[in-house]
Amino acid sequence: MIEVENLEVAFGKGDDRKQVVKSVSFKVAKGETLGIVGESGCGKSTVLRSLAGLDRHWTGRIALAGQDVAKERTKQQFELAQMVFQDPYGSIHPRHRIERVLAELLRAMQRGEGWDRVVPALERVGLPAAFAERFPHELSGGQRQRVAIARALMLAPQILLLDEPTSALDVSVQAEVLNLLSDLREEQQLTYVLVSHDLSVIAHMCDRVLVMKEGVFVDELTPEAFRGGEITQAYSKTLFEASFL
């Protein structure tokens, strides 16, 4: 579903140039969930943003659904992969009502007004239809993240890129959102790339885990290895142990 070869991303020019992602390659099969872990600032979000088409200064090859994508995406390519952001407070326009937040995708894509799709979309993520009338500040964090997920699903993408989707939520709500994501994955055969700091989240959700350090993948783990603590690679080990301290 996703193929990445020799992806490199650098910020800045000249002396300030900083290579953030250094020649990473990976593949994700359809219906699979790939986890990416690593310490803060190692380039996880940058990989996701390049996959989604937000960052445009990468080099290498990215293919989505068997089709190579350029730095400038076409509308069809945008429809393939959507992203859910870390902070539900910052990822929804504060002056748009929920109905507009959800309808905007169809309107921007010039696929009609989109108002009639709002209620089904809300119901899909388990929110009452009456929320369509509300502004984001009238919702709780978990409800907002549901709206953000509903938005990401509006265009029926095959891939969801999840950048720490639960880290801004408290624990009880985290489980709720994760279960929602699992259910949606079953229902719609979605492919996930999930970035998280929380190893329990990763263990719960992922089929495969990549460990990232300073812009490169240093290890690949199965969730079984994860849960069983059978980690051999030194860095993964420190990371793993640090998260239980």
């Binding site: 088409g53 959507q82 870390q86 109905e99 995708l105 209620v119 369509a132």
Partner: protein, 300 residues
């Protein structure tokens, strides 16, 4: 769930009106917690009513001369006295509200959108466009606004339009800088990133996502600016560059009264409170609006 079908979107004017009414009611109830702001708001409302109904409110004609009644001190017949042509000063002041409100509205309607668009485009597009636009803004900003006003008056002849254009010409840069600062923040938010991901065009992002976020602070700024616009317009009138006689422009009335200042003080003095009160009202409302709309600026 039966009303669900009628819920989303459109729903016609009734719904829209209902929403607007709610918004207005909410803001008014917030405003009522700001007594000074409320006072300013009421004063402005009164001024607008006076401007609209000036011919019915004013006891005399603002321009008809009545020489036998010239330079009368304030009395029951002429609350604010009369000028050298025997015109009732109060009536002239009442009609003058029209000129003032007109000037303020016209300048705001020019300066607001221009400043907003320049600022938002500069902030959103960035790079060279930003550099060029901001340089232009700085240059205009470094210009004392009387210079273009004088030049304009020389080129086009003094008059209300000239004054309006002249004030607008130097009035947009502060708005543009403000809008740019807001746009710089908004363009990096996740909701704009999300909008990019569903292929929203730059224009769409600019007008539906970024501009709405800049509007509150721009509105506050414009309201505070209105206070300044009134003073500038009066100053131009005072210099003879605003509305021309016999139009009852407040600044021009003061300037005119200077000739008799020491013997017939009311001719020069009476228009002052009108300017002061109007300008003050805008300042009060602007302050209150800032407290209401701009969460970052905490006054108290």
């Amino acid at each position: 769930m039966s009303n669900v079908e009628t819920l989303p979107g459109r729903g016609g004017f009734g719904r829209l009106f209902g929403r607007m009414a709610t918004t207005v009611r909410l803001s008014l109830s917030k405003l009522s917690r700001e007594p000074l702001g409320m006072v300013g708001f009421i004063v402005l409302a009164v001024l607008v009513i006076v401007a609209i109904f000036a011919p019915w409110i004013a006891p005399y004609s603002p321009t008809a001369q009545n020489l036998p009644q010239a330079l009368q001190a304030p009395s029951w017949a002429h609350w604010a006295g009369t000028d050298e042509f025997g015109r009732d000063i109060l009536s002239r002041l009442i009609h003058g509200t029209r000129i003032t409100i007109q000037t303020v509205l016209a300048v705001t309607l020019i300066v607001g959108p221009v400043g907003l668009i320049v600022g938002v485009v500069a902030g959103f597009v960035g790079g060279r466009t930003d550099a060029i636009l901001m340089r232009a803004t700085d240059i205009v900003l470094s210009f004392p606004s009387l210079i273009p006003a004088l030049a304009f008056a020389a080129a086009m002849g003094a008059g209300l339009q000239t004054a309006i254009i002249a004030i607008s010409l130097t009035g947009w840069p502060p708005i543009a800088r403000l809008a740019r600062a807001e746009a710089l923040v908004v363009r990096n938010t996740d909701y704009v990133a999300a909008a990019r991901l569903y292929g929203a065009s730059p224009l769409r992002i600019l007008f539906l996502y970024i501009a709405p976020m800049c509007i509150p602070s721009v509105v506050v700024r414009l309201t505070l600016n209105m206070a300044g616009i009134i003073l500038t317009a009066a100053a131009l009138g005072f210099l003879g560059l605003g509305a021309q006689p016999p139009a009852p422009e407040w600044g021009a009335m003061i300037s005119n009264g200077r000739k008799f200042m020491l013997d017939y003080w009311w001719v020069a003095v009476m228009p002052g409170p009108a300017i002061l009160i109007t300008s003050l009202a805008f300042n009060l409302v602007g302050d209150a609006l800032r407290d209401l709309l701009d969460p970052r600026h905490v006054r108290s």
